[in-house]
Symmetry: D2
Subunit: 378 residues, 4 copies
């Protein structure tokens, strides 16, 4: 089959590789119909991780069941499915409590596995024609037959649930106000989720006009941080008050606004500590890493941040972090899509045939031509 293979910094190629095979009775092989490129794929693409050349990328996968192992119970050839980016067993201490992003079985020595990602276990990605899905009954969510909502469903693999996860970590209630930093795919999905859940005011901070426009279109309140301190902008709009909850959808590559894009990894967290009212919650779905050799700051290299912990304590803030347990949400979000109450595909900017993946990676990495969310169609 053909697959997107990592060749080294800033280089991927579409190559012929061996087809995946059933290796375990609970495996399924899925014929991929959609596989999206994730912002976190770019971390590997840019050579900022230990990803080895030869790795097949792709953890946002959907498709049609091609073959199932003899232990698979509820799936059969022809079923349309979407896979959480997490690979999980379903029966370890963490999975049984719903923490499927922290499975203790699939990636020995570490809590959590994923497809096509460095250090997340021996699972080739789905930017390819075929994908092996372990523990398939657990790791594939069935979709209605047909081809309706293809793009919406594709986003159930990662970014829609990850955005929703932000609102869940924030324990967002209907009627509450929330500030979201970052209007990229995760931030936009967090804002969309907050609106779906009935937040009263959803402030979203970014500086890219197209992104801010999309936030406005879905009913959020765009805040352009290139036009002034976003904390002050929001407080002013609220008569001096802060917000009930906050979401950091940016992560460790946050940059100082108004300067020449110097990375200041704690800048979003610090803003949220200022902005969120006492008793509030800060949710962090945005990625932070325990080691970042490419960082400018020596502390950031070790994944350490300088945080106003005294202020955080004084306000009695709570903090929720971590990768999304996609299975907690994907079934419910799927049903919202089917019922016509959610159409997350508004964030998809491009569709590309698998063979054009190298160009898509390059443009997405440079954020040119409006590349924000690319879906590959093998």
């Amino acid at each position: 089959m053909r697959a997107v293979v990592y060749k080294g910094p800033y280089k991927v190629a579409v190559e012929q590789v061996a087809n995946p095979k059933i290796q375990h009775p609970n495996d399924a092989i899925v014929h991929i119909t959609r596989s999206a490129i994730c912002g976190s794929d770019l971390h590997m693409y840019e050579g900022r991780t230990a990803a080895p050349p030869g790795l097949i990328f792709g953890h946002e996968n959907m498709g049609i069941i091609e073959e199932v192992g003899p232990g698979v119970t509820t799936l059969r050839k022809g079923d349309r499915v979407v896979m959480p980016f997490n690979v999980a067993c379903g029966f370890c201490k963490n999975c049984e409590r719903g923490f499927t992003a922290f499975c203790l079985t699939v990636n020995p020595g570490f809590a959590g596995g994923a497809y096509g990602y460095v250090a997340m276990g021996p699972y080739p990605g789905g930017q390819a024609e075929l994908l092996r899905v372990p523990f398939a009954d657990f790791n594939a969510l069935k979709l209605p037959q047909g081809t309706e909502h293809e793009d919406d469903f594709a986003l159930l693999a990662d970014v829609f649930p990850t955005g929703y996860h932000g609102t869940e970590l924030a324990q967002l209630l209907a009627g509450e106000s929330i500030a979201i930093f970052g209007a990229g795919p995760v931030g936009a999905m967090a804002a969309y989720s907050a609106i779906i859940r009935g937040a009263s005011s959803v402030y979203v901070v970014d500086r890219i006009p197209e992104r801010l426009q999309k936030i406005k279109d879905i009913g959020g309140i765009p805040i352009d941080f290139s036009k002034g301190d976003p904390v002050e902008q929001i407080k002013q709009m609220r008569g001096g008050d802060g917000v009930d909850k906050g979401i950091d959808a940016v992560g460790y590559q946050a940059v100082q606004p108004g300067q020449k894009d110097q990375e200041v990894p704690s800048i979003v967290l610090e803003a949220l500590i200022q902005l969120v009212n006492a008793t509030g919650i800060i949710a962090v779905p945005g990625l932070y890493v325990p080691a970042d050799p490419g960082a400018a700051d020596p502390h950031a290299k070790q994944g350490k941040l300088l945080i106003s912990f005294g202020k955080l304590f004084e306000k009695g803030l709570r903090l929720g972090t971590g990768q999304c347990d996609v299975k907690r949400y994907n079934r419910y979000l799927r049903d919202l899509i089917i019922a016509g109450k959610a159409k997350p595909s508004f964030i998809v900017s491009h569709h590309t045939p698998l063979d054009d993946a190298p160009i898509a990676y390059e443009k997405f990495d440079k954020r040119v031509e409006g590349y924000t969310k690319v879906i590959l169609k093998p």
Copy 2:
């Protein structure tokens, strides 16, 4: 001042009564601008309760602060406020946990107090020019100055929070399906709340075309029980599946569909036990009473219902009941109204000057001329 006074079965009069006075340092006197008639007022109006003649009706009140006692801290003359129908102290064991519908202080010997309601304590109602509000800092929610959203805010006293309470007792999650029995004011507000919270499919069962049309207008799925068993109708629409959650917004005066309106008080609960999937929750904001002398059934007279408890247990269903703790929700729902995300006043059918209250009661009781939710304007 003038006030709506109960005179006996099917009879209210607007009479001159003494102005309320500050009786306690924490009291406030509110000049009423809106007071709605509630379906539960009709229970008293019809003589189906022990309400004594002379009682001033009205527990859905909003207005402007006229005077405050020396212990009142956060309110002053001129503030626009809406009062929960519950009268509560704010410091007893139940209030401190948020169960303000079950205050142990304001109505000794009973858990819970209200304005203008039989057996709910010595608190005259607000279908009058003035209202005394005890523990005013706790029992009045401040609104923005001005007159915007008057009708929406008026519904914060009872029916919007009560509908929302149904979704909260049901622990409704975004993406879940829910069936609501009853499309009267409480049912409509429950449906509206479910939609605000992101339910995927909101089925609402009634038989009055105007009510069902409103459900459709807000994005719900109307089910006309006069056209067949609602449980079967909903299951059929769902390919045989039931729903995740259910709400009984009808209460003890439920009637057998398709017959000449014989009261069968358990009929809604029985339908929900059949319809809600195993592991689900049935919420009961609809009123049930511990004694109903006017009931046909001897058990119903004592507030007893025959329930398929074995089936309920087999499905592992949970049940939430009781009057709404308005203060849990009114602040958040107010903010949704201010932000333009909720306009509950679509259920208001009529506005009436205080002096026309007797006619409004009569028409509302007979459900003629589309009388479904009447707001009195003293």
Copy 3:
């Protein structure tokens, strides 16, 4: 192998039957070391259910892994394990949310499966030398090697988690008061769990002196209902106050106290509705059935109970019901046993070789010679 086989009302035999075999890659075969007799086994034994002759009893099983199928990942021959009485898949909509007592996969057309129980799926019981465990990674909990705590661990299959489930359905908080009806194995385990969780006052209602003594021994407050209305007894001890939470650990075979044991299935629920304070929760781990042909009352035959629903509503009570999802708790309760903080085996009255099962059933059914909890040792 030898196994306890149901032969008809009041008759079981220990017979030679075919050994179970691996039927599916995820199966394991367990050599049984302990299998307890449950009160619910007596429902079948007494002929009060549709259990067919030939059924092998036993859903409270522990033992040593003998063989695993090729799909089993975390278990190997020689592992010591205890199995929840529920048979569950681990990946259906209910299992993934932790509702393993309501698995949608293992018993098609019904929510929930179990070993050796009528209508709970095609799973022979473990009162035998060997047991087939489906989805073994999910359905077997590993125990420390050796033979320590055998009886304590055996109770992890059902009765300790089921008692604990009562406290969880009741959302019991440390410092709260709770009343538990029934001091049989489930009630005693509920009381023990309530004490472990830090309840302030744990009242337990029964009339059998040995049971009440055990409650006293573990720090509970025994209430003998043969000496007067238990509701009044408890309220008197509390200066007129009720309790925060209640548990019905009796179920549908409740009897009228002080009379010649007439079954009054709603008597416990009615008492709890009176006793539990407004805003409280009633948990029902005790079994109720949707059809009980042997009941005296015509309504009870159909699983219907007459309940003071009006009073329940007036008090804003919540209700939690259903079979225990053993996997929610067994890991934690196991760790309490290992840490020496829980020794549930104080309820075990007898150990019996497998071949003496018929006598044990007879004596347990008659409740003679102190038979309250019998563990079979194949």
Copy 4:
């Protein structure tokens, strides 16, 4: 009356001051019978805060009602009461949700008030003969008449609830393992609370033998950090595994173990990030401050800590912080004391007449003669 007055760094005096008076209808005056010295009083005593000379110390107060204002409803002269250290109104947005440590009314411009503490509002402390209690119905918890459990009840003002708060922020479940850093009064109470709630293994890290002995006495597992890295010690005891939950009961004055007590404010948080398992929660009841001019480290001066945020994110940890909302717990903990299930007074080391307060402060500050928890008796 006589009262403990702050005179400047390391200096308090017992002086004659004016009696407090009823200033507001909801005030009460309490005759103090017990007022404990808190470790946080020492922050002021040492001159490490902006506390002005003349301040009367004391936020852990109990006593007998002497007089009530005309707005007080449920208290009368002679009632025995204990006051949460928080002063709170009971009706603001935070109080109504139970966040009484973050009251928006009593200390304008800040979220939260307290007695006798710098920057916590105009409320003199209770290390005196008399105390004014604002919003007395809300801020005084009634105790049984008499003098039983005096010391236990006195600890309901702060340290017992604060320790319990740690277990609540950690969302501790029965059967879970937990590590607590610090065996001072807060840590000991957190450990005691964890045991009351049924934790399986409660590790407590300190280096003072008397403290560690007390932990052992109540059933905890003492870890002496002077004998090696506590994280490694605990992991070794657990066969390499970490713990489910963690509590930081030390705060910003944490010191580097094994060195000459250099303050390293992030050392405990860093240890917990290493020790707590993925998906776990770290609770921080220990005090951190937004500005600490006396700190050695320039970042610490501004209340900033360097934290391994990347690791925290990778493990999906959650964090709960802040002062204790005493009213959430004091009623329940009181009932545990009354029922004989909790005796927190085991941490009290000394009783002192009010007039000897200066000596008690000096010895407590130097931690000599076993001074760990001192109760003043005016």
